[in-house]
Assembly symmetry: C2
Homo-oligomer: 162 residues x 2
């Protein structure tokens, strides 16, 4: 009755149908795949992608306010508070209430934080520098360009061909 013999037995045989034309679906799988890669290569260092990006952005934008950082990284304010407090406790980040707006919190890397970013930079960019699986170098560059454009980042930062 149920033609179970038709069912795919291997992952590669699963039909994706129209789903493989869904940008959201592709982005989700690509992101998981990329994070798996990240943890395979850098997991032993005890770092998380989110933490790395927060530290790097504070280093790149000394005195940035917590809320601005949260918006840029699309992290909820409540969650950002916890991350920053944890980093302050670990001596990586310094929080300062600026006089011109005493509701806000300005963020700085401590010496220890700067050192940590230094330590992470080599393995992180070594990981990022490897060719993305399945893509040629020009394809990878184009993929980054398109993602940046999709995100409205064009022209910000330092360019994507790192």
């Amino acid at each position: 009755m149920n033609e179970i013999t038709e069912a795919p037995r291997k992952v590669e045989d699963v039909h994706l149908g129209r789903l493989c034309g869904s940008l959201g679906f592709l982005l989700r799988l690509a992101q998981i795949s990329s994070f798996d890669d990240f943890f395979k290569r850098l997991g032993h260092l005890g770092i998380r992608p989110g933490e790395v990006s927060v530290m790097m952005l504070i280093g790149e934008n000394p005195g940035v306010r917590q809320g601005v950082l949260a918006k840029r990284l699309m992290i909820k304010r409540a969650h950002m508070t916890k991350m920053i407090l944890a980093m302050e406790r670990s001596g990586l980040v310094k929080r300062e209430i600026p006089d011109d707006d005493r509701r806000s919190v300005a963020l700085w890397l401590t010496d220890g934080g700067r050192q940590r970013v230094e330590e992470l930079a080599a393995p992180f960019w070594g990981h990022e520098g490897r060719p993305a699986p399945g893509l040629t170098k020009p394809e990878e560059t184009e993929l980054k360009r398109l993602l940046g454009k999709y995100l409205g980042l064009s022209g910000k930062g330092r360019s994507a061909q790192a």
Copy 2:
């Protein structure tokens, strides 16, 4: 001492530095952005991206085994179990122990499940059909093609130019 006047006040002024050349960083932001879009447009229907993809893939692959589906969607087996049991309780999915391997579970949509997928298809593909923000149509097609290639999906499914 702290040149706080240099600090960015607006999200657009935050320097991303080398980070905007990181594929993992770009994928993470793009995925969040895409899911925000999804929830803004389809949140009122009470659906989740993960559930939609599971239901659609069972519909596309009747009798698919639970573990195969989990691997294809990069969802952990333990989590897939919970999702499938919840869907069975909601009458959307039927579980069947196949005779040729009584350890495994084969999955089928119920009539209710098929109906649900039908109902979701219109708003879902209507959402996906809209132009991706910031990209021209050819750019969007190319972005999907590159993501599919990165994921090793080329040739699977029905093609990406939906």
